[in-house]
Amino acid sequence: MMNIAHYVPLSPLLAFVINIIFGRKLKSASAAVAIAASIGSLILSVKVYQGLSFGYGSYHLGQWLTINGKALNFGIIVDPLTVMMLLIVSFIGTLILIYSTGYMHGDIRYSRYFAYISLFMSSMLGLVLSDNFVMLLICWEGVGLCSYLLISFWHERPAAVAAGIKAFVTTRIGDTGLLIGMLILFFTCGTFYFCDLATVKGPEPLMTLAAILIFTGAMGKSAQFPLHVWLPDAMEGPTAVSALIHAATMVAAGVYLVARCFPLFVAHPIALETVAVIGAISALMAASIAVVTNDIKRVMAYSTISQLGLMMLALGVGGLSAGTFHLMTHAFFKALLFLCAGSVIHAVGTQDIQKMGGLFSTLKITSSTFIVGTLALAGIFPFAGFWSKDEILITAWNNHHPIFFGVVLLTSFLTAFYMGRLIFLVLFGKSRSDLHPHESPASMTVPLIVLSLFACFVGFIGSPLKEAGRMEAGVETYWIMLASSVVSISAIFLAYFVYLRGFLPVSIRSRFKGLHDLLSHKYYIDEFYDFIFVKPCALLCRMAYSFDFHVIDGLVNLVADLAQSVSGVLRKFQTGFAQNYLLVQALGLVVIIIWLLKI
């Protein structure tokens, strides 16, 4: 193993520094800097991948802190999981940077955009290379920061600013759990290192609690229920950002974290069960919302939540290889779908799918790649999503989780249905408004084509963690493949009849109005949070200030006023007039005399 892995994040970091300092002078050359750096990372990642055959492990970079007398060393971990992430991040990152040169063309903060993306790539690459929780946390917050900066990139829009804050704060709430979890782990087992997780022993239920808290961090990052609310709003950012950060890489960091800490979760079944349940809820909930969403990017966002839920579910039923496999395939086809959506938005200037329609005739390349992405996501044979979803199903079945198996099937039905709806509403049928679409420039379509090739074929590679324990199927599993295919294809047909042929009778529509309302209001979760957390928190803070102002400071001023008024009374005796003093003297004398005479 060559110790070159830690150079991988450095080249985008350098690009960030160059672009942030000289960006104004570089103008459009800033894109070239970022792309060059990204390609540099890609080449290095490939080298690291080649080095993998010589064995893997971790190596130290140097001491960072001393905590409770223990040295905390920063180090790099190199194993198939890391290398897979490195390749995904640097490869998709490069494509998205190329795409962005077209997509962001003419933006006033062009160089700033590329600087942020480079910083993101650097942090993300660092995240997957970290061999301990602390270094991971640093990079973890780094990607969160970039996500915040890029969501509110068009910060003239108030919605973008609000979305940025929401994203940062929601993920930070999850990170709070991660921080507490890793500290519990440190104080019970004395380690921050991932490599020790397989052997740590600690008291129950503290260890289960630690694992669940670590998972909370993953929930925030991977937008899992109940911390998923930030991801749909994050679509305020540029679409290329959504593709890279909010579909392919950053949101997968939560899945990565669970995969990285897998031994810990396996050793604590309740924690593992939690992962599966949260994943299942997220998968179903988000998929059902996606069915009624009309904003093309938000459909993608809910789809991402749902697919991340499937990955979590896969991990939760013990499928480390299935979960990471789906992470990999999803990164490609979801990035592709987002870029296609971006290309569509670029062409028609709206995000409302009800206003689109019949775009296939004008946007040939975008539409074809869009369809490829859709088939991959819907899990149609032989596209990428089919293989990974199949592996999830097989794992769930073999590990005796029939309920989760059902959840995955139901989710894939919903997935195929809403993707079918999207395709038929956007690409086919008649145009429903007066749009003048035009195909995007080559800088945007070439990445689409490349990604669609991957969306076709990446599934054949198989899981990168095959050796790590794929349960070779003892029972015949072809029926599972068949079942999932039937489910997906029938869902697409249903979508075809409902949305293209208009087969949905009005009576059904009205009967399910309540359900439709529930779904289109996203189960009222945002409203609920607003009522339960946001408003009370603001109220608490205002009350705290009012307490501070009136009570605490009031007491301080009261003491001062008291002193002043007492001295005001006493001052009356110090008139400065000799007559007054003489009078008091005389009166005093009289009193004394009377007193003496009485005795």
Partner: protein, 484 residues
Amino acid sequence: MIPLLSSIVFLPLLGAVMLLLIPSQMVKLIRTVSVLITGSVLILSLYLMMHFDTSRMMMQFTEYHPWLSGLNIWYFVGVDGLSLGLVVLTALLGLIACLASMGIEQRVKEYFIFYLLLMTGMLGTFLALDLVLFYIFWEVVLIPMYFLIGIWGGPRREYAAVKFFLYTLAASVLMLVAILGVYFLSNPHTFNILELAYVGFAPHWQLILFCAFFLAFAVKVPVFPFHTWLPDAHVEAPTPISVLLAGVLLKMGGYGIFRICLPLFKHAAHELAYIVGILGAINVFYGACVAFAQTDFKKMIAYSSVSHMGFVLLGAASLTATGFNGAVLEMFNHGIITAGMFLLVGVLYDRAHTRELKLFGGLSSSMPIYAFCLTFLALASLGLPGLGGFVGEFLSLAAVFGVFPWLGVITVLGLVITVIYFLTMLGEVLLGAVNPKCSAYQEMNGRELWCVVPLMMIALIVGFYPHSVLQFQEAVLLSLSRLF
């Protein structure tokens, strides 16, 4: 050999005397002399830092001269890992705030005389090792501060100055009594802080004396509920004075806890650690809540200081080396970051003549460099890993979790609120629709920028390589933690 520490302490005093001799019309000369003096102090303190032996936990560069021998009072100064960082911080912020004072137009001569006197007081407090000397420097700080707020401050300057003065004075009277108590309880009677650490007072005396000292320091830190002088003083003080107030003066309280309360009254520290920890957690959480409710930029930063100083208390309360390191590092980091924040608030105030957060908006379009600096420092302040603030908070938090887990949980919740109010602030000031009033603001000029850039760089260096600061303090704080 030149007495290095005395030169550092008394050079500003010498400068103040020099300024007395310069006619007040020669404003330029006065400014030049002040900058030269504060610059030399910084150079001397950097020299001190370079020749500091990080492996030794003993006092270094000590100077020990009889002063009032009848009462066994000595002129005794020295530096160790605990004070070194604060001395360098004071010298650095002294120069930066001096450069930021170039905008002062009224009564320039008096201003700089008070300013330099303040420097002597602050540096002396961190270096004095005799309680009487310590007390004198402690009080010396008050007087120039009173005038600097009261004369050059904002509209309610007199109220703020009097409040600041009386509040701290009342507290330090307690300290004076405690100092006398320590003196008469020790045998032979001594004011020497290092010797007093070996005395071992009776437990009930320890509790009383600890509380007396702690109250005096608590006002300075400031610890809830003794903090309300701080927002008023900050809002009224001119920008450079706010910088020193937040950057250095608050640290005097934290320093006092580490220099006096912990080593002298070990038993009491053990007994009261829980209470100190609770106060720290309240500081973090309550300070963050109140900061969120602010509409005035400066007041918000002032309350965020209250919140951040809670970490110092938490670290101290943990009574572990990790916590001590976190607390002392947090003092340094908070000094750096918050000083930068106040400079940036001042930059905005100079242009807008208001600090109402709601009246800004969209500044990142008209002032991109300013926007970068403010975002950077706000992120550092909210404890983003990779920047300075995180390391100190992380160490304190890690230590507290090992001792009082529930306080750690409360603290972490406070950190979430910290994120909310800083991001809301950034959203209101920098982002959003461009306020037409703000679109004409000039970008930061060179002087303003170069006052902030060194602070940002330090925050970055500490964040990535905390050892750069921790190396100085680790040895002495380890030996301090061994006492418990």
